[in-house]
Every structure is written in structure tokens, then in C-alpha cells.
Symmetry: C7
Subunit: 272 residues, 7 copies
């Protein structure tokens, strides 16, 4: 009803010491589909809910491998995510070349956070409209971090980002005492349960819309996508994509695998 006079520009402070444009950018993140991360003393896990823009479009990639020891989940504007994830890949590669070892997780996060901070302090740019959950494993063990476009980096035992993520956080807070000592499998299933809590009544977890990634002690970044998620959904007691889709239209199932095979090669964030 009343125009805020200080929210047109990322370089303008409000009288209350706030940067409204930076806060508005966070709204774009809240509208992304949900993603959940948990860390134990040996592993870190990300699970995410994928969306497709239309019935015939591929599901948007939510989990991106940055390096053997590090991956991210994105929430917000996919084009902004591409810019920043590519930057992270380049930094990881260049660090490996220079120092002959994987880049420490937090160091990489600080790099991308510095880049993002610049867009909150120079006129004529806008804050990025994307946030990341990051899992990684380095000399200090497994990590789960959150990156925000303000340049903020936070470390978590477990957290969730995106649409309806509060429900997942509630699950995590109730169960977090089991995470540090949880096995790899327990960790993945806990993450999926938290993710399941973000669903609406009409939704369910399926091979189509779930992605899972793990990194840990003696385990490089591993992605479970499409059919590969089946084993986890079964352990969770969820139906696979065939069953899910069957509830909509039974006739199309026979050819779906082939169609899926085509889409399976999609890599929304590929670069060299």
C-alpha cells in the first residue's frame, strides 16, 4: 500500500540498516523446489525434489557435481545457478592444478560467496537469485553448508532449502541427535523422510522427481538419479515412477522407459 523508498537498489541502506534488494532475492530461492541435506561424522547427503515445467519436459536438474569431493543442490533461478556452479567448477579445477589436492570445502564456498557479495555492493548489478546447499568431504571431514546470494555461508548438521522446507527442518530438528553416528544408508533415508515431509497431499516421491547425492570418507561424489533412485524409494516404502505415473495415464507406461532414456542424458549445467 505504501512504497518502500529504499528497496530499489542493492546499494541503498534502509534507515533500519537493511538491504531490501538482497532480501527480495531470497524470495526467489524460497520458490525453488525443496532440497534437504544432512551430515554425519563420515558422510554428507543431499536429496532434492525435481520439477518439470511441462508434462513433456525433462525434470530440472537439482543436484550438480562440482568435483569428486563436492556437490551442490540448487534452489532459485537456474540460469543464475549455472553461472555460479560453473564458477565453482573452474575454481575447483584450478585449485587442484595449482595445489595438487582438492580445494577445501569452505574455501571454495568463500570464493563463490565473495563473488556474490560484489553484486550486493556495486550499483548496476543485482544479487544472484539462487542459493545452494553444499556437501563436501575434505581433510576436516564431511561438511554441509548453505550459500546465500548475500554472500552468507552457514554450516549445518542438517537443513533444508526451497518450497515448504520448514516441514523438513522440523523433521531434522526432531531427529538430529541420530545424524552424527548414522550409517550412510540411515543418513540417506533420513534425508528422504525429511524431503517427503515437504510434499503436498497430491505429491509423492518417485524415480522421476527425486535425486540423491552422497559424499564421504572413502566415497567420491555419488549421484542417484532416475531409475537409480528406485532402491532408495523402495527402502523408504515409496512407489517408483511407473506406479506414480500410472495413476495419471496408464496407457503411456510401456514407452516411458525409452522416453526417459532420451531425457536421461540431459545435463542442465554441463560445461567444459
Amino acid at each position: 500500500m505504501f512504497r518502500n523508498q529504499y528497496d530499489g537498489d542493492a546499494t541503498t541502506w534502509s534507515p533500519q540498516g537493511r538491504l531490501h534488494q538482497v532480501e527480495y532475492a531470497l524470495e526467489a530461492i524460497k520458490q525453488g523446489s525443496a532440497t534437504v541435506g544432512i551430515v554425519s561424522s563420515t558422510h554428507a547427503v543431499l536429496v532434492a525434489l525435481k520439477r518439470n515445467a511441462e508434462e513433456l519436459s525433462s525434470y530440472q536438474k537439482k543436484l550438480i557435481r562440482i568435483d569428486d569431493h563436492l556437490g551442490i543442490a540448487i534452489a532459485g533461478l537456474a540460469p543464475d545457478a549455472r553461472i555460479l556452479s560453473n564458477y565453482m567448477k573452474q575454481e575447483a579445477t584450478s585449485s587442484k592444478t595449482l595445489f595438487s589436492r582438492p580445494i577445501p570445502v569452505r574455501r571454495l564456498l568463500n570464493r563463490v560467496a565473495e563473488k556474490a557479495q560484489l553484486n550486493t555492493q556495486e550499483y548496476g548489478k543485482r544479487p544472484y537469485g539462487v542459493g545452494f546447499l553444499v556437501i563436501g568431504y575434505d581433510e576436516t571431514g564431511p561438511h554441509l553448508l548453505e550459500f546465500q546470494p548475500s554472500g552468507l555461508v552457514l554450516e549445518y548438521l542438517g537443513t533444508s532449502m526451497g518450497s515448504r522446507s520448514q516441514s523438513a527442518r522440523t523433521y531434522l530438528e526432531r531427529n538430529f541427535n541420530t545424524f552424527p553416528t548414522a550409517s550412510r544408508e540411515e543418513l540417506i533415508l533420513s534425508a528422504l523422510r525429511a524431503l517427503r515431509d515437504t510434499l503436498t497431499k497430491e505429491q509423492e516421491l518417485t524415480e522421476d522427481n527425486v535425486s540423491i547425492s552422497v559424499v564421504g570418507k572413502d566415497e567420491k561424489y555419488t549421484l542417484y538419479d532416475q531409475a537409480n533412485t528406485k532402491e532408495w524409494l523402495e527402502k523408504l516404502g515409496e512407489r517408483g515412477p511407473a506406479a506414480a505415473r500410472a495413476s495419471r495415464t496408464t496407457a503411456e507406461e510401456p514407452s516411458a522407459p525409452t522416453a526417459e532414456a532420451i531425457l536421461d542424458s540431459a545435463d542442465a549445467m554441463e560445461t567444459e
Copy 2:
């Protein structure tokens, strides 16, 4: 009735986390003439409806060859399409020179998408006013992708863009289970049927206003334009341009082929 206070600039977030100028640019795409794309496990097809600004002007080129393995359909501002399609041609050429193989389809799309994203994050530019449907064939098989000026890239089994494209999408969703295993001919005819569904009562598909392109396994980018579309329109059961035009003015038919021959050399996007 009420001025939106956050829509004057591509670098300003609305309090809801939206970039209105980017959304407005999409409106320019919706006003373009319709185009339809479908992909099978072996081929990818684009068909498009061409318009002419005046009765005596040539029909605007809608399908553009980027490389032997890749072509696009455009919807939106033709001058913006020229800039971006030329950029894609240069990238394709330079990649072939450097790596001695065709550029992977999604990699090229990511390149042009990064270029487009910049215009949504730097003050003093505007988002491009054009979208693409892209077909291509590379080591991972045939692909159908959509490029949006926000920098978004989506993969599809089948989709449509431009004016009245919802009707085409409805057709595609009803029939998509036949696409993965469809033959090259079936694929083209399905695409034409979907395109036909976007026509108004006064319109029909003719040799003048239809363009068809195919790429696939063992088939380089092939374009059917003007007279060459005749075989496909006949298979579809549509009348050719002579018949179509005859309904307007019968006297001009004899000389039309010659006139068409002149226009046929038009190449709205030629570059070197």
C-alpha cells in the same frame, strides 16, 4: 491501474523475488508465430509457421541451420534472433576447429544461455526478446531443447512455442507416447498436425507458410521449405500454396512460381 514499482529494470527484484523485465521479454516470444518440435529415439524435428509482414513481402524465415547437426526455430524479435543465432554459428564453428568434432548440443545451448543471462544482470542492457526451439544430434543421441532469454534451457520430448502454442502442446501431450519409437515420417507428420492445431479458422498450412527441419542418426540437418514442403502437406492432406492463394485471387497464379523463385533466395539470418 497501478504502476508496478519494480518492473522498470532487469536488475531490480520485486518483493516477491521476481524479475519483471525478464518476464515481459517472454511476452515478445508469445507473439511470434507458432513452432513445434518433437524428438524420437533417432530423430528430432522442427516445424514452423511463417508469416509475411505484407502481401508482397517474403515470409520471415523461422528455421535456421546452425551446423550440420543442429538447427533452431525462433519466436520473437527477428533482430535479436539474428544476434544470437550468429553467435551460435560462431561458437559451433570455433568448437569444430578447436576440438575437431561437432559441439555437443547442450554445451552450445549453455553458451548462448550464459550470454543471455548477462543481459538480466547488468544495468543498461535489456533481456533478449527471442526464444528458440533447438534440435540437434550428438554423441548422446537426438535432442529437443528450448532456450529462453532468461538463460533457461529445458529439454523436451515434444513442445511448442509462440502464438496459440497451447493447442499444439495439448496435441503433443495426448500423443507423446508414440514419439520415441516413431519413424522419421511419422515424427514430421505428428509435428505438422500439432502445428495445424495452432491455426485460426481462416488459416491453413501451405507451401508458403510451412517450414520443416529434421536432424537425426545418419541424417544431417535437412530443411524443407517452399515447394519442398509439398510432399509433406500432401501426406498430411493439406492443400499447397497455389490452391491456398487461389481462394484469394485466381489470376495471379501463373506468375507466382517465378515471384516465389525470387523470394526463395531470401535468407533472413545469413552471415559469414
Copy 3:
């Protein structure tokens, strides 16, 4: 009555996906004097109506030779036309030097269109206020194209631009079926008849206000101006300038040729 909020800047999209500043620039073109172009299978012809700012000023040049195989008619701001036509001459010369052959017509048009498009996408510039009709002859035969400051390039069998050009377009649409096979002379006379249709009751075509240019198979760019237009006006059945002017002031005729001879050397767009 109501200020459009999105029309102050060429880099701002309206909510309807329009660029108002680009559209406003087209208004400058509509106020230029009329010009008409027609193409046959062998020749392309431009005719134009010249204006003089005052009774004693020379008539503004409307037809400009770019190269032996290519010429343009301008409508809109003459200073903007100078910038762009000089650019075209430079491109034509440089292409001839580099490739030892005349620049293909559409390629040159795309070059100038890319230059014009930039002014619709960078803050702090304005779209050019001039449009061109272009005739040219290259390896693909004769061409008639239209250039708009948006960067749009269209090909035509026949068209008209500038003040009251709708009347000329109506003539062209009624007679276009005769153009492809028309002789050089028939083509010129058709163009002049179309141009004549744009005149007000008080105006007539005279040696002073008509310019004619032709290019074609085995014919380099040829310009008929001033006295040289006499033969064409007589074939058309129009009076020459002496007669025309006589209706205003009879005494001045004897010395007019000399006066004209002075002005005849005027070349509004000369460059080196």
C-alpha cells in the same frame, strides 16, 4: 492523457513485450517523403519523391548509390541516414577488397541491421530514425529489401515507404503479378505510377522532385535525376519541371536550368 510508463528508454520492455522507443523511431520514417521499390526476375527499381525545405533550397537526395550493384532509398532523418549509408559504403568497399567480389546484398543488409540493433539494446543510445529500401543484384539475382531501425530486414516483390505510402502499396498489390516478368521499362513505369498514387491533389511528379534508380542483370546501378528523369516522366504522361513550375511563376524559367545546374552537383551523402 495517460503517460505510458515504459516508453522512455529503448532498453525497457513494456508488460506487453513491446519496445516503445523502437516503435516511436518508426514514426520518423513515416514522415519521410515516399519511395517505391519493385523487383522483377532481372531488375530492381527504386523511385522516390524528393522534398525541398524551402523554395530556394535544393531537393533533398533520396536515392544513394552504395556500390555498383547496390543502392538505397531513405526515409526519415537525413543525418541518421548519412551515418548508416556511409557505414554501408565502407562495408561494401572493405568486402570487395577482402574477397575480390561485390558483397552479397543480404549480407550487407545484415551488417547494417546488426549495427542498428545495438542501439535498441544498450542504454544511452537511441534507435536510428531512418529506414531504407534497398535494391541490389548479386549471384542470387535482383533483390528488393527493406531495412528498419529495429534491425529488421524484409524482402519484397514490391513495397513503399514514407508518407502516404499505403496508396503505393495498394497499387503494387493490385499489379504485382506483372512484375516478375516485366521489362526494365515497364518496371520503372510501374514504380512511378505507384509513387504518383502517393501524391496529394496539389502535387505532381516533376523533373525536380523525382529520382529513379535501377540495378539488374548486366546493368550497374543507374541513377536518373533532374533533367534525366524527363524521358520517364514523358512516358508516364507527366509534365516536366518547367511546366510544373510555370504554374507558379512564369518569369523564372529561362534562368532555371542554370540555377539547377548549380544545385545538381549537390551530393547530400558524399564521403570518401
Copy 4:
């Protein structure tokens, strides 16, 4: 009463396709003192009315020599005139050095016009506030041209610029048929008569306020200023400055010549 919304910036089009800031700059020219130019088949002449800011200030220089074959009359802001006339002198000198011949008149005009056009198309500059009448003699004979800050260049048989110039133009239009064959003397006297028609009842032409310049076949740029204008004013039947001033204050006449001699060395546009 109502703010025009499109006139704050030279790079903004009005919905009617006008550039208001460019038009406003022309108003500065209309407020300059009058100048008249005429061209015959052998000579070109400029005459101008000089003003002095105060009784004791020198009269502002109105006619400026650019080169042996070319001179200008200015109307509008003198500082802007200095910038542009210096630019013209530099271009003339550099052309003579490069090509060993005087720069063609229109070519030089096009150069300065291109410079002026830039200020109508780049944000952060303003259109120049000065116009020129230009006389010159080159291989194509004598010329009279007008330069406007929009970048427009027009050729004339005779014209006038500045305050109350319409009266001079009326004189010229009534007598223009005599100009082409007029002798050098007749041409100068015609120009002075036209200039005299721009005077108010209180004004008269005097040695103080008149300047005359001629260029032509076998005649380099010649300037008549101060006492040198006496012969022409006498032929015209005008009184000289002594008589003119006498009507105001008789006592000062004896010493005036000396005073004038001091001022005579003034060269408002001198550069090296």
C-alpha cells in the same frame, strides 16, 4: 502548462517520432543575429549583421574564414561555434596536407555534420546550439550550404538564418531568378538588401555592424569588415558608421576611428 514527457534528453523519441531536444537547440540559432547567403554561377556571398553585447564591447564576429576557398557565417552560441569552426579548420588543413588540394565543400560539411549528429544520439551530451551558412568554391563550382546541429546539410540558391530571417528569405524568393547570372557586385548588393529587410525600424546597416564575405571563381575568400564595408554601404545608399553613431552621440566621433582600430584586431575564433 503541461510538461512534455519526452523532451529532456536528446536520445529519447517522442511518440510522434520527434527529438525535442534537437528542436530546442534550433531555437538558439533563431535568436542569433541575421545572416544572408546567395550563390551565382561564379560566386558565393555571405553578409551578416553583427551585434555588440554592450556599447563598449567589440561587435561579435559573424563571418569566419575556414580556408582560402571556404567561409562560414554563424548563428547561435558563439562558444559552440568556436568548437565546430576550429574542427572545420583542422579538417581543411589536414585534408590539404593529405591530398594536396582544397577539401571539397560538401565533404567538409559532411564531416562537421557527422560530429554534430553524434551529440543527438549519445546520452550525456547535448546538441550543439549553433548553425552555419557556408560559402565555398571547389571543382564543382560555387556553393551555398546550411549546417544545422541535427547534422542536416542543405544546399541553397539563397537563404537566410537567424533573427527575423524570414524577411530576408521573402526578398530572396522574389528575386532569386536574377542570382545565377548576377555579377559579383550585384550579388553582394542583393545580399545586403535582403539583410536590410531583417532590420527593425530603429536599426540600420553601418560599417560597424555589417560584414561581407565572398568566394568564387578566381577569387579566394575575401572579407569586408569595418571601414572596408564602406564602399558597399555607399553603393547600397546606406550611411556609414560615423553618421549612424552621430545620431546617438556626436561628441565621440573624432576618436572613434582609433578606438575601432584597437578592436579591429579582434578575432573571436582564432586558433592555430
Copy 5:
């Protein structure tokens, strides 16, 4: 109710000679959690209250080591703190390399203050949203300084910054006469007591939320964090984190140490 007309820009003076944007940036500092600093004639001490964004997130690092002889406490925007603290580390390192001795405390402060001042005097940037308390030991002894984003640097015997810091300042002012001669232990305990005065009724000092750093004569920068703060809290008579947390949820305590161990490696400001 009434818009201040001079507060939109850090480079605009108000009629009262104030820079409102600089003042607004200070508000961001006031919202940071509290930190307290005291200096004796031999040591300088910083203590700070850490916050965590969520129950499962790590506590935000408040004390940062810059060099062996120098550390800071931050209040305000963490991403801005990262930029400036990294700058300080670089300056400290580069000074040590060049001059083979630690950089004097105030000199380093002046460097970062000059950097911050620039953002208050150049359009298009914003003042940093972070303040520092700084402790250091150099040739002139121990120091406690405050850095503000205006570029102001102040020296103190004791002070406090951040939320509810007025209560701490009151404590310090009442007890400051004991500081100069206080022992290292007394100094730390005084600082903790001042910090405790900033707590709300619901808060208490715990191993989780307290950080302590000391630097002094013969003592390099020393940090007490997490479990290491236990001895100090006990001396102060405060409960440790287990007890603190127990008041919320008793069940989680057993696994908490492990979870903490993971988070312990977090270093919000690490760079190389």
C-alpha cells in the same frame, strides 16, 4: 511519515551536514550480536556472543585472527566482514614480507578505514555494513580499537559493540579504573561480566555461544572457543553448553559432542 530527501545516496549531504546512508549502515552493526573489548597495560581481550541462524546451524564465527599480534571481533553483515577481514590479512602479510616485522596496529586499521571511506564518497557503492573491535599488540603496547564503516577509528580502554551493548558499556565505565593494572585473567573475566550484562533474561553464556581472544606482551593471539571456553565460564560461575542445552531438550546431550566436533572445523572467514 515524511521521506527524508537526502538519504538515498552515500554521496549526498543533508542540509545539516550529515551523510544519512553512512548512518543507516551503522544500524546493521547495532543488530549484530554483542562483543566486548578491554585493554590493560599488558594485554588486550575480546569476548563475543555467537548466534546460530537455526538450531542445527553452526554458531557464526565472531572472532577472527588477522595475524599473530592482531585479531578482530565483528558486528554486522558477515559477508562484508569477510571482504574486509581478508583485506586486513593480506595487508598484514604483505607488510610483514616487506618490512620483516608485524604491521603496527593502528596502521593496519587506517588502511582498512581508507578502503571503507571510499565507499562513502563514490557514487554507486554502499558503505560497508560491518564494524570491528580490534585488539593488537605492537611496539607501542596493547591496543583496543573500534573500526566503523564511515572510516572512523577510535581507541578505547574498554568498549562494546552490537546488540544491547549499552549495558556492557555501563559495566565498563563503572569498572574501568581497574583495567590498566588488571592481570590477564582478571581482564578476561571483566570482559565476560560485561558481555553477560548484554544478555536477555532467557539467555546465558555457554560454551556454544561464547568466544574469547587475547593478545599481549609475550602472548600471541590466542582463541578460546567451544569446549576451551569451559574453564573461563566456570571461573565466571556460568554453566557450560551441556547444562544450557539440557534446559531445552535433555535427550540430545549424549551425541552433541560429536555433532559439535563436526561443526568445530567451521571457519567462516578462512581464506588463503
Copy 6:
């Protein structure tokens, strides 16, 4: 009462063809203290009234030597005068070095005027707030010129600038016929009389507030300041500073000379 819409920017034309910001800058000049200049056929003279900001501040320097043959009087902002007078000194020096002769007076004026004109045509600068009266002697004799921040340069027999200068101009217009043949002494006294006419009832000319400079045939730039003006004031019949000040406070006179001696070394515009 009514905001002028076209006066916020030196690069915006008003609909009447005016540059309001340039006109506003002239107001700063009108508020400067008065200065008077006269030229004879052998000499040029400047006299000026100095002000002091407070009773104990030195009088602001009004007359500045640029070179042996050239000096200026300033009216308006002293800091702007410093920039421009330093520029003139540099140009004078560099010209002398290059061409081994003093720079012609008008040439130097044109240089500084071109510099000033730029600030009226580029966005983001402001017109200078200072004007000059200039005296000089070169190959064409003695000169008196006026420089305005618009870039205008005018030549005068005699003129005045600054506060209440109209009274001086009236004196000059009544007596100008005696100037050309006046002796050096008569010229100085005439200038002082004109300056005296600008005084208010409370003011009188004193050694403190008068400065006199002369340049001419066989006379390099000569400055009479402080005590040196005494002879001229006596010839004029004015009281010296002692008498003048005595009317305010008699006690301070004895020590005043010493105080003055200190201030006498002040050189408000010194540069190297």
C-alpha cells in the same frame, strides 16, 4: 513558485533554446566584488575591489599575473578561478617554450574558453562559476577581454564585472571617447573612478581593498597592491588605508603595517 523543468542539467536545452545551468553559473560571477578594465591605444588597465571574509582574514586576491604580458581579474568562485588561472599559466609557459614568443592574448583566451565550454556540453560536470577580465599586450597591441564560463570571449574598450558593476559601466560609457588617447596615468585614474562608482555609501577605496594592474607598450605586467596603491589613491583624492581604518578603530593603526606585511605574502593563486 513553479519549477523550471529544464534547469537541472547543463546539457539540457529549454524549449526556448536556453541552457539554464550556464545562466545560473553567471549569477555566481555577479556576486563577486567589482573589477574594472580599460584599454587605450598603448596600455590596458585592470582595477579591482578586494574583500576579506572576516576582519582578520587577508583580502582575497583579485588580480593575477599570468605572464609578463598578460594578467586577469577574477569574479566568482575563487577555487574555480584557481583551476582556470593555473591552466592559463601552464598554457602560456608551454606556448613560450614551444614558439619562443609570448602567447597571443586572444589565443590564450580561446584555449581557456574551449576548456570551459566542455563543461557546458558533457553530463556530470558543471559550468565553472567564475569570469575573468583580461588585459594583455601582444603583436596586435593592448587588449581588454572578458571570459565567461559559457566559453564566451568578448573584447572591450572598457568594461566592468561583479557586484554593482553597472555603475562602473555607466561611467565608462560616458567617458570612453577619452580612453584611446589617454595616458597611462589617466587610464588608471579613470578605471579607479569607475570602480569608485560601484561602492556603497559605507565603502571607500583604501590601500587595503584596491588592486591595480597595468600592461602595455614597453611595460610588462605591473601590479600595485597594498601600500603601493597609495600614490594612486592620493592622485584620486581618496584616503589611504590608515585613514579608512581609523574611522573604525583608531588604536590598531600603529601595528597594522606589521600585520599587513605578514598578509602581504599571501598569494591566493600561486602555483609552480
Copy 7:
């Protein structure tokens, strides 16, 4: 009540020829604490009143040594003072290196004034918010000058700047006739008396809040600060800091010297 339309920008003239932003910057100076300067024929003296932001903060340094022969007192924004005083130190050093003699006082002032003037003439910067009183001794003797952020430099026999400085100026005007011949001691005491006149009823001069600097014939820049001011305060009849503070809290005196010793090393403007 009524927005001034011309005060948002240092590069905008008001219709009255004023630069409001420059005037607003002076307000920041008026809010600084008072400083007083006096010059005799042999010495120049500055005295200043220091403030502390809080009870436990050090007093802000007001007097800064620039070189052996030159020092300043600051009033206004301390961070702006740091930038400009560092600039002056660099200029002084570099001049000494180049010319092997101390930089003349006024020359250095003109340098910093030129730097400050730029910020009043380029868009996107702001005028500095600090003024200086300057004392120096060079070949022309002792000097007292004032620097304002407009770029104005004034010379004085005696003056005062900052809060309530009018009272000091009144003292100086009443006694200035004694200054030129005053001894060094008399000069310092006169300055202190003038400073004392600026105090409110609650204030008094103490060792804590007074600083004194002197420069003169055969005397390098000398600073009296803290305990060193005691002798002067006693001569003036003022109480020292112990007494002053005792009125607030008697208990703290014994340890105060130590505390002060710590703060004494503070050098708010130190640079290398």
C-alpha cells in the same frame, strides 16, 4: 517545508548561483570541536579542543603534523581528514625529495584545495566534509591559513573553526593588534584564551582535551599534548586533567596516568 530543487548534487547550480551541496558540507565542519589559530611576525600557533566519543575512548586527535614546518587542525569528518592529511604528507615529502627544500605553505594548500575542488565539479563524488586551519613557516615567514572543502584557501592573522567558534573570533578581533609583535608564549596564551571562550558552562580546558602546536622562526613543528599541556594550562590559570576529572569520580585518579599512557600512543592519522 519546501524542497530545494537544486541541492541534491554538487554539480548543480541554483538559480541564485549557489552550490548547495558544497554549503551543506560546511555544516559538517561547524559541528567539529573548536580550534583556534594565531600568527605573529615570528610564530604561528594552533590550539584545539579534543572530544572523546565515549568516556572510555581516547580523545580524537585534532592537531596533525604534516612536515617539520607545517601542521594542521581539523574540524569535521575524521575519515575525510585522514584522506586529505595523508595526501598533504605525501605532497610535502615528494616536494622535499624533488626540490631539496620544504614545500612553501601556500603551495601545499593550493594542492589540497585543487583536489577538493574536483569533488565539487564531478558528478558521483561528494565534497569533503572537513576543514583545516594550517600553520606553517617558510621563506616568507609564518602563516595561518584556512582550507575549506570548496577549495577555498584564506589567510588570517587569527581565526577559529568549529563549534561555537564565533566566541573565539570575537576574542581575536578584540585583541588582534597585539598579535604581530607578541612573543611565542603570549601567542599561545592568547590562543588558549580564545579557545576557552568557546566552552560551555559545563566545560573547562584540561590536559585531556587541549592540544597546542607551534611553528616559527628557528622552531620546528612542536606539539603539546596530554601532560605536556600542563605548563600552559597553569600559566592560563586552568586546572589540569586530574582536577577536572576529580569533579566526576575521585577514585580513578591514581591509575589514570597509566591508562592515559596507553592512549597516548594513539595517532588517529598515522600513515607511512
